[in-house]
Subunit: 339 residues, 2 copies
DNA sequence: CTGAAAGCGCTTACAG
DNA sequence: CTGAAAGCGCTTACAG
């Protein structure tokens, strides 16, 4: 392996000079730079990132933390899509991505502590926000640069995060259904441990309240339910004495599954039941019927989170901030006027 | 930051002893281990991974290289799913994952060279195999441990890789359509630059040949086409004087899109046209109609690739090998007897 | 079973 | 504008 010393020797300079040439320090003459660079080229020199990190106390890498890599969550294109935003932005800034994908909360916690304490990364992006999360608490307590994609459960004002205005958009979306004449609107949500579910549920309730529609506990379906047995979950919902005529669904993937089960039960979308959903996956355009969905701009969530994190890394006393990514309501064909 | 020296001082031992305790060396007495561990606990010591890497010349991380992060590719659940396999296996072995997601071939090349030459990782998994790939060539020439998910284009015998038997399974799948009475079978494939497309295309041709059906150039649709304008691609296929009655489709995602366009043209699946596809995404069960698809065991591809790589890292003279992951043909409802 | 010393390949005050 | 030296936090022969 060719090191800085080899280059120094051949170029007749000190190792420190070579180091400065690499950093393109303005204190080195162009002439020397040229000579050193030629030697680097000749020898095929490449800086050892480990050594640099150790000496400079900066890794040029960020940690990206996925939620429990349950089968279900992982087939969700949400993650590749945020990753795409993250990697574009980090790559632009010469940062690498260190990925953590624990399969339990404990595993995640350990991966993160080891990442942070072991100085593998300069900062961390949390790709989820759950209630009572010890990983996030650890990050806060150790005063390590981090950014959350999603609204934090605790200490909201003291952490930087990037999110959509979930309460607001879910309220709007529910209103949209109400204006179509629906009163029996069910909410098919993700796990209640995630803040995004809580926020959307609240937006949903707010809309009902404004319209004077009482909230009906029976109209609440949890993801945990669906995972277990989606068919039964939807069946018991539709077999209610007063079944819903519209659904607000946490994400497109769940919506697809619901539609499939509904069709099996001979309930047609949108004729018999309207569905609006979130994420606007590429597929949603091609599903049958094309899904009316809220585009939450996943790519941008990732991109902005990274930008925010890198800013915090380079300027440690940057104040915590909330960045709200605007959404787009994409009206397609899964909703209809109540008959 | 608490270092090995702090621990050593407080425990009244040499730093080297602390280091050996961390490595759980058998040459240290249980008594000393205990005392040192207590101090580590007390001080909240955590080893600096950078320093360790530098001294031990091992990073405990593997690099995972995604293909060009084009929008399209990235919404494909293939990647999260291989990642899940990779991360399970690497996590079991205390390895971290360093992710590279260039958006052009050049970017990928640079990320990989810097990863390898900069000693960020101990080995690399290539998540794609394309023809004429300088990244792979670089990996080979630098004699760096790496494993390919997919069959390499060059030097097949000299590189380790994990793959399905794509030629064979595509032949089978095409046969399945032939046995249903189809003769006009089109192939809707990914980019011809990827070896997986080449192999599947060959399997398809082989089946035709065995059945004495001449290969028809017009029945070949490329992904590049579809990305541009999927609707038009399928339209010109179906407007042929002798349109296909069956489709072999490179992956489920493309299949969904095809189905959607077909329905728009009032061509029904499977009544008017049969479709078989690859990957068996979670969604395929819920699509309309449920897709007949080949489950290529994506998770396992990732898992085995990692196992193979870690083996190579720990035993450098391990011989190159090919690992073939078995597939499952999942018959659902997108194919029908030719009328 | 344990320690002193050298070294991994860099960076960065300090000095000139 | 450049160099000598110390140091980042570990590991690992070597010696006893």
């Amino acid at each position: 392996m060719v090191t800085i010393k080899d280059v120094a020797k051949l170029a007749n300079v000190a190792p420190s000079t070579v180091s400065r040439v690499i950093a393109n320090s303005s204190r080195i003459s162009e002439q020397t730079k040229k000579r050193v660079r030629e030697v680097m080229e000749e020898l095929g020199y490449h800086p050892n990132l480990q050594a640099r990190s150790l000496a400079a106390k900066s890794t040029q890498a960020i940690g990206v933390i996925m939620p429990n890599s349950a089968y279900y969550a992982f087939q969700n294109p949400f993650f590749p899509e945020v990753l795409r935003g993250i990697s574009t932005s980090s790559h632009d800034n010469k940062y690498g991505i260190y990925l953590s994908t624990g399969s339990t909360e404990d595993e995640i916690y350990h991966e993160v502590t080891s990442m942070v304490l072991g100085r593998r990364v300069d900062g961390v992006i949390l790709l989820y926000s759950r209630i009572n999360d010890k990983t996030m608490r650890f990050l806060q307590q150790s005063d390590f640069p981090f950014v959350v994609v999603g609204r934090p459960d605790e200490n909201e004002e003291r952490v930087s995060y990037v999110d959509n205005d979930n309460i607001h958009i879910t309220k709007q979306v529910t209103n949209y259904l109400i204006e179509l004449g629906h009163k029996n609107i069910a909410f098919v949500g993700g796990s209640i441990n995630f803040v995004v579910t809580i926020d959307r549920l609240n937006g949903y309730k707010l809309a009902l309240q404004d319209a004077g529609i009482p909230f009906n506990e029976d109209y609440l379906v949890h993801e945990d339910f669906i995972k277990e047995n989606g068919r039964e979950a939807i069946a018991s919902l539709m077999n209610l004495s007063d079944p819903p005529t519209a659904l607000v669904t946490q994400d497109d993937l769940i919506a697809y599954e619901m539609i499939s089960h509904l069709e099996d039960m001979n309930i047609r979308v949108p004729d018999d039941i309207s569905i609006v959903s979130f994420n606007n996956l590429m597929l949603s355009e091609h599903s049958k019927p094309p899904l009316t969905s809220v585009d939450i701009c996943i790519y941008q969530l990732g991109f902005e989170a990274t930008k925010c994190l890198l800013e915090k890394i380079s300027v440690p006393d940057t104040l915590p901030k909330r960045i709200t990514i605007p959404t787009k309501f994409i009206e397609r064909k899964s909703c209809e006027q109540k008959k």
